[in-house]
Amino acid sequence: MSLSEYNNNQHSPFKVPEGYFESLESNVMKRIASPGTTVQTTRKTSVKPLWHVLPFVGVAAAVILALVIVGLPPESLPSVSENSATEIKITQDISDRNIESVYDYLVLDNETIYDYATE
């Protein structure tokens, strides 16, 4: 079929929820009366698995770890367990919340991250 054969004048394929246009006016006027509000998109999105940006995470974690080890006074370093003289546990919490602070630390803007993640 070509576009010239398609009749675009007769029927709109789109429907709206019942009462949508009737309530639209009051919804808009309410928002106008409350300045500073922004539209929240109703689509729910989920972030891609973290492994997409793991290289950034790895570098950031290594940098921070190095700074922590070099910068902290001796008494702040993890102490060796009395039960295991040779075992040193270092735990890293790479939660999403900490990732944001890592990005800030490395002065990575969102655009750079997005560009990398979408390569």
Binding site: M1, S12, P13, F21, L24, V28, M29, I32
Partner: protein, 178 residues
């Protein structure tokens, strides 16, 4: 004084502005909604963009002097809001697990088209953002290239080329679907 001049005067007067703007919303929402919906496909997104359009129009009322019809002025805002939304949505989709293909138009309760209409909307949805606007503005809204050039900030020649390519892509999509 014509009715549009009277409406403009009411919009410019603080004491009557709210009522006048409510009338603008009532008068123009359906047409704007359909124009936006063609571009963004889904009702929830169209609702967001439409409301944003009216909010932006309200905020810009002081700068509207009636050089054009209110409908034309609103249309320009709507097209720019739609383009901004599409660019943002495409960026977000590139970072999420939500594949656009998982949103099945045929199962959308707010889509009531036949097979041809479904194919057309799917084909439109695959176009790059600005090309999508060019196509819809020309094909569905009957806009002149000179008008589109003013709204989109793109030369007439580029718009003609973009429209031509969009048509080819859409017809190619139809052929593959047959």
């Amino acid at each position: 004084m014509s009715s549009s001049e009277k409406l403009l005067a009411r919009l410019q007067e603080p004491s009557t502005r709210n009522d006048a703007f409510a009338e603008v919303v009532r008068t123009h929402s359906r047409q704007l909604y359909m124009q936006i919906r063609r571009l963004v496909t889904w009702h929830d997104d169209a609702n967001d963009v439409l409301q944003n359009t009216f909010i932006k129009a309200w905020q810009a009322l002081d700068s509207f002097r009636g050089e054009s019809q209110i409908s034309t002025w609103l249309y320009r805002i709507a097209m720019n809001e739609s383009l901004t939304f599409l660019q943002k949505r495409n960026l977000e989709q590139s970072l999420t697990d939500n594949d656009a293909a998982t949103y099945d138009l045929a199962s959308d309760p707010y889509f009531d088209g036949d097979r041809a209409e479904q194919l057309l909307q799917e084909a439109i949805d695959l176009l790059p953002e600005k090309q999508k606007l060019v196509f819809c503005m020309k094909y569905f809204d009957g806009q002149k290239y000179e008008t589109m050039s003013q709204i989109l900030g793109t030369s007439v020649g580029a718009l003609k080329a973009s429209y031509h390519i969009a048509v080819k892509k859409i017809e190619s999509y139809f052929e593959e679907a047959d």
